[in-house]
Amino acid sequence: MDKSLLNFISQAYMDRNLQRQIAYTRKSLFDQGYLDEQFIQLEDLQDDANPNFVEEIVTLFYSDSARLIRNIEQALENNPTDFDRLDDFMHQFKGSSSSIGAKKVKSECTQFREYCKAGNAEGCIRTFQQVKQEHATLRRKLETYFQLARQSDV
């Protein structure tokens, strides 16, 4: 049998499998509300000149937001609570979360800011746990997704 034909067939089969997996993973991120259409804007910016743009910007977001999270945690430990400062940090955090389309993270941020405005420290602390959780969950999911996607880059 022709080797190259077998090569071709098997490769096509593998590729299709992988692509399906990638597409499914991506779609579920949207369906489950982890990402919103802003993420598509990021994807639109990815092209031959910037083949890894999405992953790069997400990576950047996660390294930068780690700093913000630390700031917020420290601020939450202060007594009395400086709500202005908290709100300030969260405003930044929300801004960059929304820039990558982190939908659930963003909505937790909004919730947090409500508590800030209300001066509710306990609410802030609780909500911030949610923020961190969503932040971490999204990170895991995106990592998985990127690993898959990378495999299809030849």
Partner: protein
Amino acid sequence: MTVEEIRGRLGGETDRFPVGMRVLAVDDDPTCLILLDGLLRKCQYQVTSTSQAKTALRMLRENQNRFDLVISDVHMPDMDGFKLLEHVGLEMDLPVIMLSANSDPKLVMKGITHGACDYLVKPVRIEELRNIWQHVIRRKKCEAKHESKSTTKGKNRHGNGEGEQGPSPTDNMDQNGKINRKRKDDEEEEDGEENGSENEDTGTQKKPRVVWSIELHRKFVAAVNQLGIEKAVPKRVLDLMNVEGLTRENVASHLQKYRLYLKRISSVATQQANMVAALGGTDSSYMRSLSSLDGFGDFRTLAGQGRYPNPALSSYQTGGIFGRLNSPAGVSLHSLSSSALIQPSHAHNLSNSLNTLEKFQPVVLPEKQNTSSFQRIPTSLEFDSPGDPTIFTSVGNASLFADNRAPLGISSNSLPSASVTPLILQGNLQQMQSGGVFGNQSSLKVGSLNSKPFNTGVAVQISRFSSNSLLLSEPFNHDLLPPNSMRSINSLSGPHIRNNPDDFSAMSAISSHMEDARGEIQYQTGLVGDVRNMNQAMDKRWGEHNQAYVQNPNMVFSTLNSMAPTKGVVNLLSQNVDQNNGVFRRETNTSLVSQSNSSVSTLLQHSGVEKSAIDSKMRSGEDYILEQTKTQGGFVHNGYDSLDELMNSMIKREQRGAMLTDGEFGFDAYTFGSCL
């Protein structure tokens, strides 16, 4: 001025304006900045990005003709976006677009009153950015209009509304719009010619932007006051000023801005006065910040005294108090200078307030500078502090804008180790504050430097970018930044990464640097690191450039030219098809991987998928040479040719995760082999 002339004045690719329009993007958030940068590049603008407002201002001042448009975030740590806006508007006369995650109408209003030509809400969409070039054209046309209409009184404020346009009605600008403008331009050209050679000069040549120094502005204000603010006409103001090289157009545009400023102050003052009266000053956040300042009472007192014979002056004064929280020194200077009724005691109170305010806005000025400019006030007529006391103090220190041009401590950008740079920066900071205008001139976001993990590959560049608050423009980078980092940031397509077919090896090369410099490792790094750790024999290999050629006594690799680290690892897993211990090795490697980095373990969860990926990689269209070179007693050596390997892999994929015995291997191979 025709569109062609506008194009002629613009740098870069001018034939296809708005393509190549030079935009300066300022945002302290690195994620947003890189997104903005990417979006702008997609619109084919020529983008320079920085996360420091001060850097932005410096760049703008260094070369007034370097940019056509500025986009800036509102909320920045080193300088308020509105302050930057004022500076740019008054000093450089460039259109400025504000950007914020906050869509509060009050902020939008603030943007408008401060002279922004547009206000965008984050996250920004590319459609919104496609139209921003209209602001550049509009402004150029407004300047042209000044020329033709400056002889007629009172038309200066009309229709040019820098700050008053907000969202443009001409959103559907297309070729038609340009043609319309061109016709209008032609008409203006005709008018302009009547005014004499001045127009021709400005129309056909690049005119250097006028920097409104404090002396110049003082003369200007003196002239305006002499004529009366309502009656001041550019030509007469120009004559009164008697400054060589100043054109009527310069005066006209400055006058327009001045009037806008006065208007804004008075309207804000009225607004604030109402709020104060109605709400007792505690309601809005604006008031909150006001009340948080000591000496607020002093301001209010002064405001209360605002019944002066000259209505313009009075509004000027009261407005000055409220209109500019961001430039408290400027505020009080206004109040002092314009009111003849201010008593020394008030001056004292104000100076106290000033100092307190100055603490509130640490970026502004150290005390001594405030005082010095303070003392000058009684002798001078009026200061318009367009943005900022910083202008005053720079003059006071006998250095107009030279102080601003600190080298930015660029050497510290190169980040040999992040821990060193904050010290350098802080040193610079102190120097700056004593001598310079912008104390944080060299600020490179010290805080962020401390905690930046280094990532591999392109991620490395990203992290450097974020911790450096950088300038992504080509010229700037070439001079000042380490070659292997910033250039690849430029549109994230720096040649040195992209052209390298082996992304992985490039990344790994960098990672080998990075790992030395940084302890913290993100998952990408971790991946690479793990691979390196996994097999000593491979250790050196990863550092090589051309081929991610992995050598292992039991493995055979060849075609890994363009594989990413993941694939590399995965290939390790799969390629252990040594007949004797293929499965075992896979598991061994697996466990190694899992120990190293938890994030890598996600890889394992998808081992099934990866298997198929592996296989597809194995025949990635390149030379599929399993059986030769460097095999040392591997599976292949036993005589199976490439096709058999192929079929085996297919089988493996079919039996995801299932344990394959040697027997099975052999059997299948044999079966297939016999068919061929």
